[in-house]
């Protein structure tokens, strides 16, 4: 059984290695630039994380306690992220994957296969938590003076915590799909999107992030951290791991053994219901998994007014591409169910803004609104990377239809921007301007905030198109897998860099005090007309780079043989 598991995993690793090697051989410059960019980004993160954690840790009296609480908070957030992201990943890997027919025919024992598949779900849904959360745990244990072996034990505990959440989410997927009639996986996705929305509400309102940015926000934060560890949270898996890591860091070996044994025991106990549900609900209904990709979408004739409207527009020479894109979106349950999550996010975001203090960190509401544009841009980035960036690849191998038709690629790209880009822009403007209105900004300030968001979103949308075209993979099975591809990671890194630059420029430009501090650190003078000049230059550089890459991406689309 173990041999089968490693054999299956090694096949996956070999495929990944061959893909990476192939990319390196055929695109050495791009591979170098991407690797260097990612290393720079990740190296910077590691450095900042270590320095910040060390600074907190070495504070007198409260340092260790603060660090411990921060780790517990991070574990809590990791549990939330792992649970939410693994729900859709489990469905896409175990039900909506094209290789299932081949996989089911493999002469391996079922437990080996399901654990192999589950390991893929864990990696795909939690890679971000592991890549960014793992080093924090490691640094914390290192600062506590633990040996390398004990640091590894701490990391294993963190991995077990995250895995448990994924096991839970996978079991839930098995049960949900079993509950619904055959070929109705799309209804399960709808239920899952409602569960995700509820989890999002729970987490947001549980953490209440808006409390921390007012006068006395730090006291609130300290008080909040104390709340993370009450005895009432005995059910919270983050607390189990948190207790273990705390005991390890304090070198309280009896406590560490006790908590370590507890988390290990619970992890092993998790395997019993997992295997039971895998046999009882998944293995016995492989036919559902095989039919899941051709889900029971209502027949076009029986669809509602909206679908009929767009279907009729397929005849229209100007609106045909948009109509096709809308219909494909509406009929793909893994796509449209995301709208519920976005609607929930919008409501939550605006609700949180109403709770904001009116004088954050001693600054003005206008500065708060400008800072808010950066968060809005990150929301916009996550939507664009999920929809615009992936839309080029999810077009799939049907792309040859476009290549043999006398149609311009520009129109094809335009349709994607119309369907995904414009709604995203409106969504972000509602977030940004809605927040501004709640913060009672003057019309002139609202206009600036709106323009800032529009600028950010234009850049993000353009970058999503460029990266979507340059890293197009028509053989990708579903959109979720595309986001974690090298192109997706690069898009996120590049846009985050520029969004942060925009945010700093805006906030520093609106505060004399911040300007003073930044100028002391070598930041250029942005007072008066200089702010407009710097912002204008940055905007011009961004437009030039984007235009150049867009031209290159369209050329790639026309000539690339690997696209079809």
């Amino acid at each position: 059984m173990i041999r089968d598991f490693f054999l299956l995993s090694s096949l996956h690793l070999r495929t990944a290695k061959n893909q990476a090697w192939g990319f390196l051989r055929h695109h050495p410059i791009q591979a170098f630039v991407i690797s260097a960019g990612l290393l720079f980004f990740y190296g910077g993160f590691l450095r900042i994380a270590y320095v910040a954690l060390a600074r907190i840790y070495h504070q007198e009296t409260v340092g260790i306690i603060m660090c411990t609480k921060l780790i517990q908070l991070m574990l809590l957030v990791s549990v939330g992220v792992a649970t939410m992201s693994s729900l859709t990943t489990a469905i896409s890997n175990l039900y909506m994957s094209k290789d299932l027919e081949f996989q089911f025919s493999l002469p391996v024992k079922f437990p080996s296969w399901i654990y192999y598949r589950q390991s893929q779900v864990i990696l795909q849904s939690c890679w971000m938590v592991l890549v960014f959360g793992g080093p924090i745990v490691y640094f914390f244990l290192k600062l506590s003076g633990l040996s390398l072996g004990l640091r590894a034990v701490g990391l294993i505990a963190f991995l077990m915590l995250v895995s448990m959440m994924v096991f839970l989410a996978t079991m839930l997927s098995f049960i949900l799909i079993r509950l619904f009639p055959a070929r109705r996986v799309h209804q399960v996705l709808f239920i899952i999107s409602i569960i995700l929305m509820s989890l999002l509400v729970f987490y947001f309102r549980y953490i209440e992030p808006e409390k921390f940015i007012g006068p006395g926000g730090m006291e609130e934060f300290n008080g909040y951290l104390d709340l993370v560890n009450p005895t009432a949270q005995a059910w919270n898996p983050a607390k189990w791991t948190g207790d273990f890591l705390t005991a390890l860091s304090l070198k309280n070996w009896p406590e560490a053994r006790l908590h370590g044994f507890r988390i290990g025991f619970i992890f092993i106990m998790f395997q019993i219901p997992f295997l039971f549900s895998a046999y009882r609900f998944y293995r016995s209904s492989w036919d559902r998994a095989l039919h899941a990709l051709s889900g029971e979408t209502p027949e076009p004739g029986k669809m509602g007014f909206l679908a009929r409207y767009w279907s009729n527009r397929l005849d229209n020479r100007n609106g045909n591409q948009t109509a096709r894109e809308v219909l494909l979106f509406m009929r793909d349950p893994s796509q449209w169910t995301q709208i519920f999550i976005l609607a929930g996010l919008l409501a939550l975001y605006l609700y949180s803004i109403t709770k904001l203090p009116l004088s954050p960190f001693g600054g003005t509401r206008y500065q708060l609104a400008l800072g808010n544009t950066v968060f809005v841009a990150f929301v916009g980035l996550s939507i664009c990377s999920r929809f615009i960036f992936t839309s080029f690849s999810t077009e799939g191998q049907a792309l040859w239809l476009m290549k043999v038709a006398p149609e311009s690629w520009e129109k094809w790209i335009e349709s994607k921007l119309k369907v995904y880009g414009i709604p995203t822009l409106f969504f972000c403007l509602i977030l940004s301007l809605g927040s501004g209105i709640i913060l009672e900004l003057q019309p002139r300030m609202l206009l600036r905030v709106g323009m800032a968001t529009a600028w950010d979103l234009m850049l993000i949308m353009g970058a999503s198109v460029v990266f979507g075209l340059l890293f197009m993979d028509p053989k990708i099975e579903n959109a979720n897998k595309m986001i974690v591809s090298p192109g997706g990671l690069l898009l996120m890194s590049v846009c985050m860099f520029f969004m942060l630059a925009h945010g700093i420029l805006r906030i520093v430009g609106s505060s004399e005090m911040l300007m003073y501090y930044f100028r002391r650190a070598g930041w250029p003078n942005l007072e008066g007309w200089r702010y407009t000049a710097w912002a204008g230059t940055l905007g011009a550089i961004e437009i030039a780079i984007l235009g150049l890459f867009l031209w290159r991406a369209i050329r790639h689309l026309r000539s690339a043989e690997d696209i079809y």
């Binding site: 051709s294 397929l314 005849d315 290549k403 043999v404 038709a405 006398p406």
Partner: protein, 250 residues
Amino acid sequence: MIEAKGIRKTFQNFVAVHHLDLTVQEGTLYVFLGPNGAGKTTTIRMITGILQPDSGELRIFGQSYQKNRGDILNRIGYIPDRPFLYGKLSANELIRFMGSLRRLDPNFTRKRGKELLAQFQLIEFQDELIERFSHGMKQKLVMTLALLHDPDLLVVDEPMVGLDPRAALHVKQMLTQLARSGKTVFMSTHTLEVAAQLCDRVGIIHKGRMVADESLKGLTAKMATKDGDLEAVFMALTADALDLDEGVPV
């Protein structure tokens, strides 16, 4: 109709098509043969404008893709070997979408689409989503799309794959009829029997090079095989072929 002079296509370190010369006259049913990986599909993709040759000159209807891409594509119908389509559209919707891409009148598209769907026995499935179609049904739908705009040149890559015997017979009759009505058909196939039945002229490609380009009669006479024995000719010309051969190292 099709004029290729020294066209060459490489994929990374492999030459898929090596200085290929090809001429196909109007109203001809040209059968393009070759072992797996010989360069047939690459040649077809260059003819249909999906790929661009690295060098050489390719003219379709006397025009080049660089200058008259739209005009050429409006007169070509293409049936690929693998029928990848938009699964979430119905057959009827896809036909209307392709009709509008080709700037056809919507009423004409609907009428012509229905006629073709009836010919390929798909009319009762016209409102079904394509993702529920079998491979053969998808192949028939691709043929409907390729014939929708009544093309002057039909380029077909392995037309019989996945078709039931009735549909295969229909396709054979349709291709012959098209050629008789003055249209040009450029077809690649592995089914030598079909090739021998249909072809006016045969081209054989091997390791990216044309090794034969003649009428069937001329070719069999030249190779001293008994009249019409295309299989013997093919075997003789591609004797050193390996199934997994993917091209010629540069």
